[in-house]
């Protein structure tokens, strides 16, 4: 009697098991700053990843397999990034890692992934030296070393700038590295510097520096700052009657500037791999999908995360996953460098980076920057 019921049950169970084996989940680790001072970037990045993963899964996944994101909060701190990386690599046994949010944390945590022979893919680390860590370190964030000279030369050409004042945050790897790159570009393009001033994270008052800068009578202000300090700098500069154009680093590239520096946001020049005003088919589709899902406009960080997920998906599609984690991780590492992809940020390929001794190491992004200038609460692209 019982057999009559059991047989079909067993058959069904077998079918389910077989189905599971065929459509295995592909676990990808995401370690980003979801709380703490860098959370506004980390949360954008997470949104970009989730949107792309949902789209890829809805379109049939990777050869029938679903992408599953294992997300950890690294709080924008080095120690937490290291903890998150260890958990994702050894405990969750993810195929690869995305993150961390800040270059500071990447310097500390990427060596963990490199040592474990796991691909780590940064979407927001733009400081120098990240990809020199090793051959498992990838990023699609265009470095400031590539972007800033283009921003500077475009602004100089359009505005006839001869001398600039420089202001930067000197207690942050990102803004300091931005300053170093600006300085190199200023030297290379033979532009005089009237004065160089600094500020610290969390400062609310920049008027002392700005008063000094105004007295030095520059044609433009070169600003390497995150938006949290950069927007108040713009407001206070205008309050002091310092009305020169501002040439900003990557941290200033955010639509938030229109809200945070409302009434004082005009005349900001930035270069970026992504612009909300860049009207390509891929970018348009991304902006529409993002705005529908999250009810707010995307930023560069979301766009780069979104593209990174698609870039990874292209590599995964070429693989035959064996279930042997070490083998699959190595196969992904070898497939990733050859990916070519056109996404929200435009045409993309990887470029081999070198380590300190000049030997081949990880992979940087090869992408051209778009220079934009703010006017009346919008970015206008400057060709």
């Amino acid at each position: 009697m019982a057999q009559r019921f059991l047989k079909p049950l067993a058959a069904a169970a077998l079918a389910v098991l077989a189905g599971l084996a065929q459509a295995a989940d592909i676990k990808l680790g995401v370690a980003e700053a979801l709380s703490g001072g860098a959370a506004q970037y980390g949360q954008s990045i997470r949104a970009g990843f989730q949107l792309a993963a949902e789209e890829i899964n809805a379109a049939g996944g990777i050869n029938g397999n679903k992408l599953v994101l294992v997300i950890e909060d690294e709080q924008g701190k080095k120690e937490e990034a290291i903890n998150a990386f260890k958990k994702l690599i050894f405990q969750d046994k993810v195929l690869m890692l995305f993150g961390p949010t800040l270059s500071n944390s990447a310097q500390a945590a990427d060596p963990i992934a490199q040592a474990a022979k796991v691909v780590v893919f940064g979407t927001s680390n733009t400081a120098d030296g990240i990809t020199s860590i090793g051959d498992h370190v990838f990023r699609n964030s265009v470095t400031e070393a590539d972007v800033l000279p283009v921003t500077l030369s475009t602004a100089v050409k359009k505005l006839g700038i001869k001398k600039v004042a420089v202001l930067y945050g000197n207690d942050d790897v990102f803004t300091k590295s931005g300053y170093d790159n600006f300085k190199k570009a200023l030297d290379a393009q033979k532009i005089a510097v009237t004065t160089t001033e600094t500020f610290a994270k969390g400062d609310v008052d920049f008027k002392a520096q700005l008063t000094k800068i105004k007295a030095s009578n520059p044609d433009a202000l070169v600003l390497s700052a995150l938006i949290a300090e950069g927007a108040p700098v713009m407001v206070q500069a205008r309050q002091l009657g310092l009305n020169v154009p501002v040439i900003g680093g990557n941290g200033m590239n955010s639509v938030k500037v229109f809200e945070l520096a409302k009434g004082a946001s005009d005349g900001l020049w930035i270069g970026s791999p992504w612009s909300i005003e860049n009207q390509t088919k891929e970018n348009g589709a991304f902006i529409v999908a993002y705005t529908q899902k999250y009810k707010s406009a995307p930023d560069q960080f979301a766009a780069q995360a979104y593209d990174a997920m698609y870039i990874t998906a292209q590599a995964l599609k070429k693989l035959k996953l064996t279930g042997d984690l070490a083998k699959d991780r190595a196969a992904l590492r070898n497939a990733l460098p050859d990916v070519k992809w056109t996404g929200a940020t435009g045409p993309f390929t990887f470029r081999r980076a070198t380590d300190k001794a000049g030997n081949p190491a990880g992979y940087d992004a090869a992408q051209t920057a778009i220079v934009s200038v703010t006017k009346n609460g919008r970015y206008a692209i400057e060709k």
């Binding site: 709380s35 703490g36 001072g37 959370a39 506004q40 980390g42 949360q43 000197n170 001033e197 600094t198 500020f199 610290a200 994270k201 969390g202 400062d203 609310v204 008052d205 008027k207 002392a208 520096q209 008063t211 000094k212 105004k214 007295a215 938006i227 949290a228 300090e229 927007a231 108040p232 407001v235 309050q239 002091l240 009657g241 938030k256 809200e259 945070l260 520096a261 409302k262 009434g263």
Partner: protein, 299 residues
């Protein structure tokens, strides 16, 4: 005509307004220490709560600035009261050593910061531009905003009011008695518990108002906005003499002038080194701070 003179004048004005910002924060901070004898490290978070409460009042209830300031005062004040009743009072009742309330208030600050981040998100927000007249006034060649004048006037005004209340009123005498010895004050029939609550409410309320004004000044509200100013605030109240109102005002101005003038004449990289180096030098000469006296706590 005299470009350098105008630059110097502008820097001196910058220093005055920055110093007033520090003083405004430090006044409430030092009041709590003077009366309760507690370094309340959640004051930075209370400051942030005031700023966010005012932002809600402006954006959701469409209140004008004065109304928003009142909301901030009440919201932060009530929070301060709660902190006293739920955290500091039980610790007092158990005679907890000095460090315990400090640690407890650090924990509170972290919890409040995370809460704000959960509710409002981590990103920077700002008050709508319409809240305050935005134009810059030109006074004798200086660029001055209405807000800066307001902050300077308010910090000096508050200092005066606090001094008058503490020196010249029955309430002030009671508070000073408590600062001397809560036990003795209670024996004299002073309602110590009630005055602790009143002080916590009022000091936290002032912190909230400072949060709004500094949020307007820097155009940036974020969950961790209380942290940097808390660090400066600690330096200011130590320099001023723990618990001393005049000291907090003077030390706030001292820090403002030290920072601005070191940017102007030494270099901005050296700003904190010069400012805190000077602070250290003053404390070497006067270990109890500018107005602190040995073995005596002042209100």
């Amino acid at each position: 005509m005299f470009p350098d003179l105008t630059v110097l004048e502008q820097q001196l004005f910058n220093a005055l307004s920055l110093g007033s910002v520090y003083a405004l924060f430090a006044l409430g901070f030092t009041l709590v220490f003077g009366v309760l004898g507690v370094v309340n490290l959640s004051h930075g978070a209370v400051f942030m709560v005031g700023a966010y409460a005012a932002l809600q009042a402006v954006t959701k209830l469409h209140l004008p600035l004065a109304g928003a300031l009142a909301v901030a005062f009440l919201a932060s004040g009530l929070l301060g009261l709660l902190i006293d009743v739920l955290v500091l009072r039980p610790l007092r009742a158990r005679n907890a050593p000095h460090l315990i309330p400090m640690i407890a208030t650090i924990g509170l600050a972290i919890a409040l910061n995370s809460l704000a981040q959960g509710i409002f998100g981590a990103e920077n927000l700002r008050f709508p531009a319409e809240v305050l007249p935005q134009e810059t006034l030109h006074v004798a060649g200086l660029h001055v905003t209405v807000l800066e004048l307001g902050i300077i006037a308010l910090s000096f005004g508050l200092m005066a009011v606090l001094l008058v209340v503490l020196r010249g009123t029955q309430l002030g005498r009671a508070l000073r008695a408590i600062a001397e010895s809560p036990k003795a004050a209670a024996l004299l029939g002073i309602n110590v518990g009630g005055l602790f609550m009143l002080t916590s409410f009022f000091a936290a309320g002032l912190g909230g108002v400072a949060g709004v004004l500094i949020g307007l000044y820097s155009n940036a509200l974020f969950p961790l906005m209380g942290q940097p100013i808390l660090h400066k605030g600690i330096a200011v109240i130590i320099l001023g003499g723990m618990g001393d109102i005049r000291g907090a005002m003077l030390a706030g101005l001292f820090l403002g002038f030290a920072e601005v003038l070191s940017v102007a004449y030494i270099g901005s990289t050296m700003r904190d080194a010069v400012a805190f180096g000077l602070l250290f030098a003053v404390l070497l000469l006067r270990p109890k701070g500018l107005f602190g006296t040995v073995n005596e706590r002042k209100v």
